[in-house]
Amino acid sequence: MNKTTASAAEAVKNVPDGATILVGGFGVCGVPENLLTALRAQGAKNLTLVSNNAGLDEFGIGTLLKNGQVKKMIMSYGGECKAFEEMALDGRLQVEWNPQGTLAERIRAGGAGVAGFYTPTGYGTPVAEGKETRQFDGRWHVFERGLRADFAFIKAWKGDVLGNLEYRKTARNFNQVMATAAETVIAEVEQLVEVGGLHPDHIHTPGIYVDHVLKGSKYLKLIEKLTVRKAAAHV
């Protein structure tokens, strides 16, 4: 079995208009850059994207927003993308706000066959409006549904041709859980290794979850806020 795909264009060619896509990454860290660039060129429209953030105006999801391909975002924070803020404010883009941990757990539940769960997060806030609430052990909880999607776009550090994945540092973020919760999971990796090239104990995402593996051709790996230590600073 060989799950590798020749190009990013090949990997995303079957994404239809109206698809729901989980997109890994936190800010610009651990983002499936090559797949998003290819999706912009492919042109699918009316997409619903599930991602913690909305990228930047010139990077990642922000470029899809500006290209008019996205109908709805399911996310937790959009503060860094002006295109997102404008489109959300004037109603061109639907936004469903989720607390970040609720978003992660909804995806985890979706991938694990759990229909929903009760969480104390968000009780008494706008995110609980219209949702079932219930008290357990004296504490109020909000019912949240599991979340699955048609596609997941994942970025890993290393992957083998079987789809086993290893992430690096905080670039793991949402990628690991999103790999479990879509009908078609496409992972792009910085390094593609042969079978046996990953230590089995170091595999974060077993290949069973992954349908296609792409060796990314180019990584910008931007830094959103470069913060460095001053020579004399003590922390």
Binding site: G27, G30, M75, V95, G101, Y123, G124, T170, R172
Partner: protein, 221 residues
């Protein structure tokens, strides 16, 4: 009177006194990020960042930054010995599961019953709540570190919040440049006072009534 810049340092230094040696802590954006600079020398804490790491360290030296190593504020950080990485789902499972000793975060409004508003102003641009709702629902101790009044001089500590909530009845302590309050069943209790201010001054600047702890402490100078 303290200058605004000093106020941030006063708040961070006082908030640091509420943390204990061995605590696992999540620090929000802004004033809370200053806290590690003011921890007593015998207090060592482990910092959690919700994008998936325990045990991050200070900013890197110039040239040593790594795009794969950031905190939740998207700033480049470093590894400390003993740090660990995990995915967002585990990062929030440990928060929701009550494994963090404390979170320290900023606020736009806090009510006397511990309601917190810090994520949206109706009619203005909404940036999103990020992980704040999860943090205040899950951490064992929720500490708000903020300036006592708004830039217009209006109280931020109120009988009830006017803005949409981040959490209901979730705040345990409030630290400002003027005073520290614990929030109990009967509302605000003044537990520490900055000696630069009188109790009357604090009452005038606070939108809700408070009682004074019998063990009232003074801010360290």
């Amino acid at each position: 009177m303290s200058e605004p810049k000093d106020a941030r340092v006063v708040i961070a230094r006082q908030a640091a006194r509420l943390l204990k040696d061995g605590d696992y802590v999540n620090l929000g954006i802004g004033i809370p990020t200053l806290i590690p600079n003011y921890l007593p020398h015998d207090v060592h804490i482990t910092l959690h960042t919700e994008n998936g790491m325990l045990g991050y360290g200070p900013y890197p030296h110039e040239g040593e930054q790594d795009p794969d190593l950031i905190n939740a504020g998207k700033e480049t950080v470093t590894e400390l010995p003993g740090c660990s990485y995990f995915g967002s789902e585990q990062s929030f499972a440990l928060v929701r599961g009550g494994h963090l000793a404390a979170t320290v975060l900023g606020a736009m409004e806090v009510s006397a019953s511990g309601d917190l508003a810090n994520w949206m102003i109706p009619g203005k641009k909404v940036k999103g709540m990020g992980g704040a709702m999860d943090m205040v629902a899950g951490a064992k101790k929720v500490i708000v570190a903020m300036e006592h009044a708004t830039k217009d001089g209006k109280p931020k500590i109120l009988p009830q919040c006017t803005l949409p909530l981040t959490g209901k009845g979730v705040v345990h302590a409030i630290v400002t440049e003027m005073a520290t309050f614990e929030i109990g069943k009967d509302g605000l209790v003044l537990t520490a006072l900055n000696p630069d201010y009188t109790q009357d001054a604090v009452r005038q600047a606070t939108g809700a009534p408070f009682t004074v702890s019998a063990a009232l402490q003074s801010y360290a100078r």
